[in-house]
């Protein structure tokens, strides 16, 4: 018989494909534009920047701004750039991320599988709490921390991050754990596992993706935090973002845009690395956490 046979022919340049990829590429340009500007600017010299076109590729590539941003940019008397705050940031971020995730995941787990009377009320309060601007809580928290005697310590800062990470993370974990089949949980109870054993031996190993998601959200949030880092610590433990703020906001004559951009990229590098390293898991995990509502 005659007539069409085999796969329907597809043209690479079909209307659908042009529309599809066209749109995606246009949007991608919008998303990449700032990154391009940042990178290009960070390797230009100041005279070149002053000449005007921020989109023009650098005529002469210099890594001076990067060195300056990392090692020699001054704030006040300290001329050691971002490097000064890097380890502080690491020291703040690691325990904050770990503790906030540990607590939020436990909350989510308890809310999903071990409901007790009133648990939902607390959770609702938490969700409403997610809408409160951080600044409003600044003073009450200062008082709470002062009364607890941990104001100005790393512990205090970790606690603050834990508290403010709690609403969203708890929501995320709760939704994720709710999607874990209830029978699994029942089977473990019959097997004699209690609250903690089920959490550590059953739930934890099953939920790595959502932990990665939580980690990304928290690493990004905490690493980029400026307000708490500066309010609840001291100069010798200031995180990198304080330095970044100082570099960006200390104008000496003309703004040194190249240094600013370099500093910006350097500061964003850590969350970006964490993000790229776990990008795939991120998408998968969010699915599990978010879709169930």
């Amino acid at each position: 018989m005659v007539g069409p046979r085999g796969a329907r022919p597809r043209r690479m340049l079909s209307r659908r494909n042009i529309f599809l990829y066209g749109t995606l590429i246009v949007v991608a340009v919008y998303y990449l534009l700032p990154l391009y500007v940042m990178i290009v600017t960070s390797v230009k010299g100041m005279p070149e920047i002053r000449m005007g076109n921020i989109f023009a590729p650098p005529v002469e590539i210099t890594f001076e701004p990067w060195v300056k941003a990392w090692a020699t940019a001054c704030t006040g008397l300290n001329c050691d750039g971002l490097s000064r705050g890097f380890w502080n940031s690491v020291r703040i971020t690691i325990p904050s991320v770990l503790l906030s995730i540990a607590i939020a995941s436990l909350n989510g787990y308890a809310l999903a599988h071990w409901r007790f009377k009133g648990a939902n009320t607390f959770f609702t309060i938490l969700i409403v709490g997610a809408f409160i601007p951080y600044q409003v809580m600044l003073y009450p928290l200062v008082i709470i921390l002062r009364e607890m005697g941990i104001y100005g310590t790393l512990t205090g800062l970790v606690l603050v991050h834990t508290i403010f990470g709690m609403p969203i993370l708890t929501l995320l974990f709760r939704n994720y754990f709710t999607s874990v089949p209830e029978e699994l949980f029942k089977a473990a109870r019959v097997d004699g596992a209690g609250f903690w054993a089920i959490y550590f031996k059953i739930m934890l190993p099953m939920s790595l993706p959502i932990f990665v998601v939580a980690m990304i959200i928290q690493v990004t949030g905490i690493w980029n935090d400026f307000l708490f880092g500066v309010v609840y610590t001291k100069p010798d433990t200031y995180p990198m973002t304080v330095q970044l703020n100082n570099i960006v906001n200390s104008v000496q004559g003309v703004k040194e845009y190249n240094v600013n951009m370099a500093a910006t990229i350097i500061t964003g590098l850590v969350p970006l690395i964490v993000y790229f390293a776990s990008g795939k898991l991120f998408v998968r995990g969010i699915a599990a956490g978010a879709v169930k509502g």
Partner: protein, 389 residues
């Protein structure tokens, strides 16, 4: 001991100046200065400092604009009483004008160390800009206004103004002093005299502000020193800014009188307002820090330190008995005016921050929104004055 000092002096001249303090302090006393600079100006830094102090984990010393900002902290007993030291060293004898010390005094006790005098009352002009426009460098406000169209025609912004709210209200206050006189300002802000505020003198100032608003169109910058930079690079004719702007000219290698001109009191009413910075020392129970605090307070007022600091900062020393050989043209002008005793209190000393903030909001809106008439703005101005305490 190590003593943590917080401040928001992070721009070029400022950082150099504060380095003088640190150097002198460390050399003379053997204590260590831990620098706690927070960029972004007082508005970013102040809440952080206050939180630290109220949170019970204070720094050893901290910069504040002296004035009413710290009243409550002092009343709450969070600031260290320096009266003993002051009496021992005889601060009242050499600090000039004495009003500086007064604003550090609450109930007869002294709580801060004034370190410099900054006057708001300056107009900075770019000689080259006027040359390019083909008009002579003006010598007073009216000439400046008259020269504006020529500057425009030459593609320059007549008057540079940054977007930060305090710059707008500062500009207005300077206009008020220049055109209505310091007494009017004291009446309005000090006595909260609404009649004066609603009166014709202030109305004239608002009219002038309208002119100024016209002249500022086109300066798309945010920070004050970016605005100054417009003057330095001759893109703008002038800027009304405190004498801290001088530091920027210096860093840029410009010479007073040659490259730029300064007009105290806008050339209308030569006067120095005694704004300035002061250091406070929060109460601490660490005896080593306590000792270092006194040492620092004392160091800051020593003549050589004052000279070194103020030269870098572009401000005037708080002692009348120091020799400022190295001072440039503009600074000398300031010193002369100061020596003549033509001083007036700073707005900060008269208004609470709340009132200042309301004024900031009013004027930043006024200077950015050409649809607000001088009359409307004055009406709102009167309301703020009426509410102020």
């Amino acid at each position: 001991a190590e003593i943590e000092v917080t401040h928001w002096w992070t721009s070029g001249g400022e950082a150099a100046a504060v380095a003088e303090f640190a150097k002198a302090f460390e050399e003379k006393t053997g204590h260590t200065w831990v620098d706690g600079a927070i960029a972004g100006g007082g508005n970013t830094a102040r809440p952080i400092m206050v939180s630290r102090i109220t949170g019970g984990d204070p720094m050893g010393a901290t910069q504040f604009n002296h004035g009413r900002q710290t009243e409550e902290l002092i009343e709450a007993g969070l600031m260290r009483d320096l009266t003993e030291l002051a009496e021992k060293e005889g601060w009242r004898d050499f600090i000039r004008p004495t009003s500086l010390l007064d604003s550090c005094t609450v109930d007869g006790r002294i709580y801060c160390v004034p370190v410099n005098i900054h006057s708001w009352q300056w107009l900075w002009l770019s000689n080259k800009a006027f040359e390019d426009a083909g008009v002579p460098v003006p010598t007073n406000w009216d000439e400046f206004v008259a020269a504006a169209p020529a500057l425009r025609a030459a593609g320059k912004i007549p008057l540079a103004l940054g977007g930060q709210p305090w710059q707008s209200s500062g500009l207005f206050n300077v206009l008020m002093v220049a055109l209505a006189g310091p007494d009017v300002l004291v009446k309005v802000y000090g006595d909260k005299d609404t009649e004066v505020a609603a009166g014709p003198e202030i109305a004239r100032v608002f009219k002038a502000a309208e002119d100024a608003r016209e002249m500022t169109q086109g300066s798309n910058v945010q920070d004050w020193n970016q605005a100054t930079n417009l003057v330095i690079t001759d893109q703008a004719g002038g800027q009304i800014m405190g004498d801290w702007a001088q530091g920027e000219f210096q860093v840029a290698g410009e010479v007073a009188g040659e490259d730029y001109t300064c007009l105290p009191g806008l050339g209308e009413n030569e006067i120095i307002s005694t704004d300035g910075d002061a250091f406070y020392f929060p109460v601490t129970d660490d005896p080593e820090v306590q000792e270092a605090q006194l040492a620092l307070a004392s160091t800051m007022l020593q003549p050589d330190v004052q000279v070194a600091f103020n030269l870098k900062k572009g401000s005037l020393p708080v002692r009348g008995d120091v020799d400022l050989q190295a001072a440039n043209d503009c600074m000398r002008k300031g010193l002369e005016i100061l020596a003549e005793g033509k001083t007036m209190p700073a707005v900060n000393q008269l208004n609470t921050e709340d009132t200042n903030n309301q004024l900031n909001d009013l004027f930043v809106e006024f200077f950015n929104d050409t649809s607000i008439t001088a009359e409307e703005a004055q009406k709102r101005f009167v309301d703020i004055v009426a509410q102020a305490d």
